[in-house]
């Protein structure tokens, strides 16, 4: 039982996130006050949601470099619709469809047209960034006040943004329990064997990006309601931060291993590092260097320790896996 806990791929991320949280609390005890939790969760909600999309892409041995541009596009498009007088529900529905379309475009390029995921999503990120800049070239606009007030509010002392994220996690729970998730993991772990076992691997890859598009759309909507305005460049850092968060969270770049919850823990850790750097009072100019060093160390520690723990548990169970040989190389 204990072994199952510490050999879980997201165990190192959990430890790191708890350590970071304890450290953050020790430098800034006010972090748990409702006001500062609202500020903290509204600034991170978009990243936490976007990392789930990145996890779907990575799980099928892909990657999504268009996350940042996609979230930005949803953000400015939603603001544009609000300005055109669309109601809240209609806009949310339209943005979810936009997210599906973004994901479908990536999925078709990668799954059916067999372009390399790294380059295909890089190319689509250009298209999405261009569209976002076309809709709005500078920050501005206004989301409906009621929705913004709700997202920046709290219920019984718990920030609404966190409650909304619980719903996102429930949605993720549906994904992670589905037969599709199992097929996607099989495809990511070994596409050839998965295909030989009769799985439609191309279609599964397409589907994984389509679902990633839903999380991109949700992330874009959350950014819209948390920030209250549209900015074509606000979410650009999400692309690399979601990759860092997912990898720290135990999602393997080689596909097939990891979990969405781990990826979220990784993203929480990524977000906490900059909060801590601010909390210990370093100048903002040094902040990025410190965050960079912590992220580099986090990435190295998690990947190394994850492999070490896995090798340990593999030895304990005595399972002849091809993976062990590959990771040793």
């Amino acid at each position: 039982m204990l072994r199952q806990v510490w050999s879980h791929p997201s165990f190192p991320a959990g430890v790191l996130a708890v350590l970071a949280l304890v450290f953050a609390l020790s430098v800034n005890p006010g972090l748990l006050s409702t006001g500062s939790m609202i500020g903290w969760s509204t600034s991170q909600l978009g990243l936490w949601t976007a990392v789930l999309g990145q996890t779907l892409a990575l799980m099928g041995r892909g990657i999504d470099l268009s996350v940042g541009a996609g979230v930005s596009l949803v953000n400015v498009a939603a603001i544009a619709l609000f300005e055109a007088g669309w109601p809240l529900g209609g806009t949310i529905a339209a943005m979810l469809i936009l997210g599906l379309l973004i994901g479908a475009a990536n999925g078709v390029l990668i799954g059916w047209l067999r372009l390399n995921p790294l380059l295909a999503t890089f190319a689509t990120s250009f298209v999405l960034l261009g569209l976002a800049l076309q809709i709005r070239s500078a920050p501005g606009g206004m989301a409906p006040m009621a929705a913004v007030m709700f997202m920046n509010g709290a219920t019984w002392g718990i920030p609404n943004a966190m409650l909304v994220f619980v719903l996102v996690l429930l949605l993720w729970g549906l994904v992670a329990r589905s037969a599709f998730w199992l097929r996607l993991r099989a495809t990511g772990a070994d596409p050839v064997r998965a295909w030989n076992s009769g799985l439609p691997t191309a279609g599964i890859k397409v589907m994984s990006y389509v679902m990633a598009g839903v999380f991109t759309a949700l992330s874009g909507l959350f950014v819209t309601f948390c920030v209250g305005a549209g900015d074509p460049l606000f979410a650009q850092p999400y692309t690399l931060l979601t990759i860092a968060g997912a990898v720290i969270g135990g999602v393997s770049l080689a596909g097939g291993t990891g979990s969405g919850y781990g990826a979220v823990l990784g993203a929480v850790f990524v977000g906490l590092t900059s909060d801590i750097a601010l909390g210990i009072g370093v100048s903002p100019f040094w902040q990025q260097l410190i965050v960079g060093c912590v992220l580099l160390a986090g990435l190295a520690v998690v990947v190394r320790s994850g492999r070490w723990l896995k090798a340990k548990s593999d030895r304990a169970v005595i399972r002849p896996t091809a993976e062990a040989g590959e990771s040793a190389a």
């Binding site: 372009l115 890089f122 298209v127 569209l131 050839v192 770049l253």
Partner: protein
């Protein structure tokens, strides 16, 4: 697809796909605007291509080295280098040699750090170089804070925009790098070992190839070449800022892959990468000539890039 292509008579010409794409872009440019084929515009395109080709040189080595080799720190190194040259050399020529020595050494050391992470810590190259690029961006911010960027001195500036015998210095430097890289890949022991490591690292190790040395040299060379590209970029733009190099990371990867170097490693040539860089520069020049704003330029270059990738490099499986 390769098997089909081999039977086609055009495929005997090396890089037929890239050359055809360049011809297509030149014809399209001529139709859009007659001055597209003017000597001035073509030199401008070649200068930008040379800059991108130098930035892609290290990337080409790393991608050939295989085992998921990729260098995401190229752009960050270019930014840091541009800021440091700006801060250390100032607008005089005296400090330039020392500055160049410092930044090129630093670039190689950063590359070495990447190589150590890849080889000794056995981390994914994407993870190591991404993490290292976070750190370098932080360093660049701290450095820019202590040494505000200045205008380049006459020497650096003439490298960036000056000409020698009517040919831009950037193009000459790009040509020298192309010749050196081709010699390095084709005729040196390191070059042959690099392809072996890229195609099958375990077989290479069994055959006695010093794998560790090859990997470390490859990543160090990538850092060094990124630093060279950073100096050239600073001369060309004539100013430095914190995001000056960032776009070059992915552009270098795209140019390399369009040029026929497989992301799976073990194959590819630098001439291909140069042609990939020319294609990339022609596309953006053509879109500027069309008088499009930056937003539509991004969108259309993304669509064209998808088309080019589709035509030149689809995954085998």
């Amino acid at each position: 697809m390769m098997a089909l292509a081999r039977r086609h008579p055009l495929s005997r010409i090396p890089h037929a796909g890239s050359l055809g794409m360049i011809l297509l872009l030149l014809v399209a440019g001529r139709l859009v605007n007659p001055s597209f084929l003017s000597a001035m515009n073509l030199w401008a395109v070649l200068s930008i291509s040379a800059l991108l080709a130098v930035a892609s040189a290290g990337q080409t080595l790393v991608i050939i080295s295989g085992n998921q080799g990729i260098d995401l720190s190229v752009g960050a190194i270019m930014t840091l280098t541009a800021l440091m040259v700006s801060g250390m050399a100032g607008s005089s020529n005296e400090a330039v040699p020392l500055t160049l020595a410092v930044v090129l050494t630093l670039g190689a050391l950063i590359g070495l750090a990447n190589g150590i992470g890849v080889r000794f810590l056995a981390l994914y190259p994407l993870v190591v170089t991404l993490g290292v690029s976070f750190v370098i961006e932080g360093l660049a911010l701290v450095y820019a804070q202590s040494q505000p960027p200045q205008m380049p001195g006459p020497l650096i500036e003439s490298i960036g925009i000056g000409r020698f015998l009517g040919i831009p210095w950037l193009v000459l430097i790009g040509a020298v790098v192309t010749v050196l890289m081709t010699l390095l890949l084709r005729f040196t022991r390191y070059g042959r070992q690099l392809y072996l490591v890229g195609s099958n690292i375990r077989a290479a190790q069994m055959a006695g190839v010093p794998v560790t040395r090859v990997v470390l040299i490859t990543y160090s060379a990538s850092g060094l070449l990124a630093a060279v590209a950073g100096v050239l970029l600073y001369g060309y733009v004539a100013s430095a800022n914190l995001s000056i190099g960032a776009p070059y990371t992915m552009m270098a990867i795209a140019a390399t892959v369009i040029g026929g170097t497989a992301l799976s490693g073990g194959s590819g040539s630098f001439i291909g990468t140069v042609l990939g860089a020319v294609i990339f520069s022609l596309i953006s020049n053509l879109l500027i000539m069309l008088g499009l704003g930056p937003a539509l330029r991004y969108a259309i270059s993304g669509l064209v890039l998808i088309f080019v990738l589709f035509a030149t490099s689809r995954d085998a499986a």
